[in-house]
């Protein structure tokens, strides 16, 4: 339990201390992916992004900036893929809706 608390403290400290730009970019890309529905539509890519980001934060704590930079860039790329995948799936789902609506539009107008 104490160990877990310590880990949480470490992680939140890593977030609070001045975060490298690449990690901020990754964080914002992850948020963007989440808002695009990646939790349902691209869970593997989103998980990979989070995983890379956490590892980047750990590397930063250990003052290994290069490694942290690599990991953060990977996290961002993962998150962007998660977002793109989710948006593609949503757009295709919506296209399906529009086509169905289109074929049913005549009935509604008649009502």
């Amino acid at each position: 339990m104490a160990r877990l608390c310590w880990l949480l403290v470490l992680l939140s400290a890593a977030c609070a201390a001045d975060t490298p730009a690449a990690q901020l970019a990754a964080q914002s890309a992850i948020r963007d992916a989440e808002s695009a529905g990646a939790a349902e539509r691209a869970p593997a890519e989103l998980a990979s992004a989070r995983n890379h980001l956490v590892r980047a934060q750990i590397e930063t704590r250990q003052r290994r900036e290069d490694e942290a930079q690599f990991l953060a860039e990977r996290a961002e790329a993962d998150a962007r893929l998660a977002a793109a995948k989710s948006r593609a799936a949503s757009a295709e789902a919506e296209l399906g809706n529009v086509r169905r609506e289109g074929s049913g539009a005549g009935d509604r107008r008649a009502r």
Binding site: A91, E92, E94, V98, G102
Partner: protein, 277 residues
């Protein structure tokens, strides 16, 4: 005698393996990246709709190959290969997304040939108040499914700037910094010709509450107007229409559709056109 050649072959193979493994070849990631980038390059939807994304994948792959030639650290090669592979996949997905969106627009244009409600007259609208800008539609039955074309911009063409929902941050009425370039552009258009006027048409998704949707779209429109005023534009040259949810461009049934309905169109119109009461 007969057993020797196979034995020799095995030895040679083993030796080759040993040679190969001493400097760990990072080719696995590189080959995956090559395959992804090649298939993205061959994808017509990518070439048509996601060229910038494809460029960035190809750049990353070029970096990976250059790192191999310069015999850089395997981690660096691996890193660029990873980014190239991911970016190629991003290009592929972005192509899929934009192609679907283009098809949606095409379907909507087709449907827009159907009878439309008359456009809201720009002239005679108080710029800041929103409720008068809102048409009351008869019947709510069509509200959930029908998508209508946005009101005609006093017969003028496309908006000078469209701010999608993604240009607004958290609370919904704060602009993200990346929206600044577009607003700068509109401000420049207005400064170039003092006779020009801007009209801001702000839309929301269906919020099941007309006054809330008008209020929401009005808040966003005022943010944009404030930005133009901050850039030295006379507020009297900027008219605002808070149109609420009356002019959806997409279905309100899906999250993406709702997001696309939350948008702000900024029109720059020639001086003669009345945009201001």
């Amino acid at each position: 005698m007969k057993a020797l050649p196979p034995l020799a072959a095995t030895l040679i193979a083993l030796a080759l393996c040993a040679c190969g493994s001493t400097p760990p070849p990072p080719t696995g990631g590189l080959e995956r990246a090559r395959t992804e980038v090649q298939s993205a390059t061959a994808d017509p939807a990518v070439r048509r709709y996601a060229q910038p994304e494809l460029d960035s994948a190809q750049d990353a792959f070029a970096n990976a190959e250059m790192s191999v030639r310069r015999k850089l650290d395997a981690r660096i090669i691996d890193h660029w290969a990873y980014l190239a592979e991911r970016r190629a996949a991003i290009a592929r997905e972005t192509g899929r997304q934009r192609r679907a969106e283009a098809e949606i627009r095409a379907a909507q244009i087709e449907r827009a040939q159907q009878p439309q409600p008359p456009p809201v007259e720009a002239a005679g609208l108080p710029p800041a108040t929103s409720s008068t800008a809102e048409r009351t539609t008869s019947g709510t039955a069509d509200r959930t499914t029908a998508t209508r074309a946005a009101p005609a911009a006093t017969a003028s063409a496309a908006p000078a700037l469209t701010l999608g929902d993604d240009q607004f941050a958290g609370d919904g009425a704060t602009l993200k910094p990346e929206a600044a370039a577009g607003i700068d552009r509109v401000a420049r258009l207005l400064q170039e010709d003092p006779a020009r006027m801007a009209r801001i048409d702000s839309h929301s998704e269906d919020m099941n509450n007309r006054s809330r949707s008008i209020e929401f779209s009005g808040r966003r429109a005022e943010v944009i107007r404030g930005e133009l005023v901050r850039r030295g534009i006379d507020p009297r040259r900027v008219a605002v229409r808070a149109l609420g949810d009356s002019y959806p461009v997409a279905s309100n049934e899906t999250a993406l559709g709702r997001q696309r309905n939350r948008r702000v169109d900024v029109y720059v119109v020639a001086g003669g056109t009345s945009v201001q009461p």
